[in-house]
């Protein structure tokens, strides 16, 4: 467990430094922000938007970048139809804008290099974001830790960081990738056979992290239990929907 910090988690201002399209619905936001405490891969920030009359909306977004001392973080936000906050980011937010946030938040869905591996990561859709931070951190800080990512998307074009993941799978000896497409030619949902193949390729994982929508995480963690993994080794993060 990471050390808890007794200090209050204060709201602070972050500046949008860059915005880059990642998939048709997802954009990358590079924010300039200095945290007052160490960040860990898997954590999130809370964002708070305020209208001129004082009305506010808050939402959580995982940090996609590995913890580093650059004074910046990367968020990957998917525009959801009718979404109050995600559509603001998609349509209004611009480079140079200031956004209020606080973090880093989260002490359970966290991987630190000392946790070791083998590491099994299971992501659905935008649920890849905190797992990406873990993979980036692993490559920089603990490349010997063996890891496998099952990444499930509806269509290939929706895969976030697809090129990066393919490059990592090619270049990093300890990293294996299973990209699963559910709705295109021969696509299928995660099932027992796919889970068995992953465990065969990786061996029994010491830590499992599953992230995505409620339905995805529920299905994935049930398959992991069916495959005989110990419940205490599986950590989950649910984005909603």
């Amino acid at each position: 467990m990471i050390e808890p910090d007794a200090r209050p988690l204060a709201w602070q201002r972050a500046t949008i430094l860059a915005i880059t399209p990642v998939t048709p619905r997802v954009r990358s936001y590079r924010l300039g922000v200095a945290f007052d405490r160490p960040a860990h891969a898997g954590q999130h920030v809370d964002l708070r938007l305020t209208a001129p009359d004082g009305y506010q909306a808050q939402r959580s977004y995982s940090i996609a970048s590995a913890p580093d001392d650059s004074g910046t973080i990367e968020l990957l936000i998917e525009g959801l139809s009718d979404g109050e906050v995600s559509v603001f980011f998609e349509e209004v937010a611009a480079v140079g804008d200031e956004i209020e946030l606080r973090g880093p938040i989260g002490g359970s869905f966290v991987w630190v290099p000392e946790d070791g591996g083998p590491l099994l990561l299971v992501g659905g859709g935008s649920g890849i974001v905190p797992l990406l931070a873990m993979l980036r951190h692993r490559a920089a800080a603990a490349p010997d830790v063996r890891s496998l990512l099952i990444y499930s998307v509806r269509e290939g074009a929706e895969a976030i960081a697809r090129e990066e993941l393919l490059d990592r799978a090619r270049d990093e000896p300890g990293f294996d990738l299973m990209l699963n497409v559910t709705r295109e030619g021969g696509g299928r949902r995660l099932d027992a056979a796919l889970m068995a193949e992953a465990l065969d390729r990786l061996g029994t994982p010491r830590h499992v992290y599953a992230c995505g929508s409620n339905a995805f995480v529920e299905a994935a963690s049930n398959l992991l239990l069916d495959a005989g993994l110990a419940p205490g080794t599986i950590r989950t993060e649910r984005f909603g929907g």
């Binding site: 808050q58 209004v92 804008d97």
Partner: protein, 201 residues
């Protein structure tokens, strides 16, 4: 700080009055949990009151189902920002559990314990006086496993992480001992109306 260009999608006035600060209304029933949904066999289910490590009273499922029933309807608020209105629960109130055990609360605090080894701390004063129950039914049906069934704690005036899912017992403690999330930076008390999400809020 006003966010440039943000107008927001304001809920109607009647909704806003029922929403604690920073919350939004959802019609779904989202889920927050730290691991997989545990598989609990009703034949082996037990609910136990303890003082420290000493068991005070244990019920089987059939015994627990035979205790007096309580219902509660109202709004619930999750620290991940969603609120859900007009939820309807049925179960056994904390007061009735103590009465059935034939005891008064031995200390002023307790830890609710789940089958997934989750814990969360609560003052006894926030459970007694019809403020909390161990719920076994939601909206007229047994609580589904993903929402904490067969039985979960329900303490609706606090953020919902205090309403431990898959509850297996209550352990009375001498002082207010931090539970799972409270050890990881979440607020010791968790009042949504004072927006007590994290330590220091």
């Amino acid at each position: 700080m006003v966010t440039r260009g943000f107008t927001g999608r304001r809920p109607p006035e009647a909704t806003r009055e029922r929403l604690p600060p920073g919350q939004y209304l959802t019609e779904d029933f989202p889920v927050l949990q730290l691991g997989p949904t545990p598989r609990i066999d009703l034949d082996r289910w037990r609910f136990t009151l303890r003082e420290g490590s000493r068991p005070l009273k244990t019920w089987t499922w059939a015994e627990f189902e035979a205790l007096p029933r309580t219902t509660w309807s109202g709004d619930i608020h999750c620290v991940t920002k969603w609120s859900k209105f007009d939820t309807a629960w049925e179960g056994v109130s904390f007061d009735d559990i103590l009465a059935a055990a034939g005891i008064a609360a031995p200390t002023g605090f307790l830890l609710a314990e789940g089958y997934d080894d989750y814990t969360t701390n609560l003052p006894v004063a926030d459970l007694a006086g019809a403020k909390a129950m161990v719920a076994t039914r939601y909206a007229g049906a047994p609580i589904t496993p993903d929402h904490g069934g067969p039985a979960r704690l329900l303490v609706p005036h606090l953020y919902f992480w205090k309403s431990a899912k898959w509850v297996k017992g209550l352990r009375f403690t001498q002082r207010d001992e931090a539970g799972f999330w409270e050890l990881r930076g979440y607020h010791m008390y968790g009042d949504p109306w004072r927006e007590q999400r994290f330590t220091g809020d």
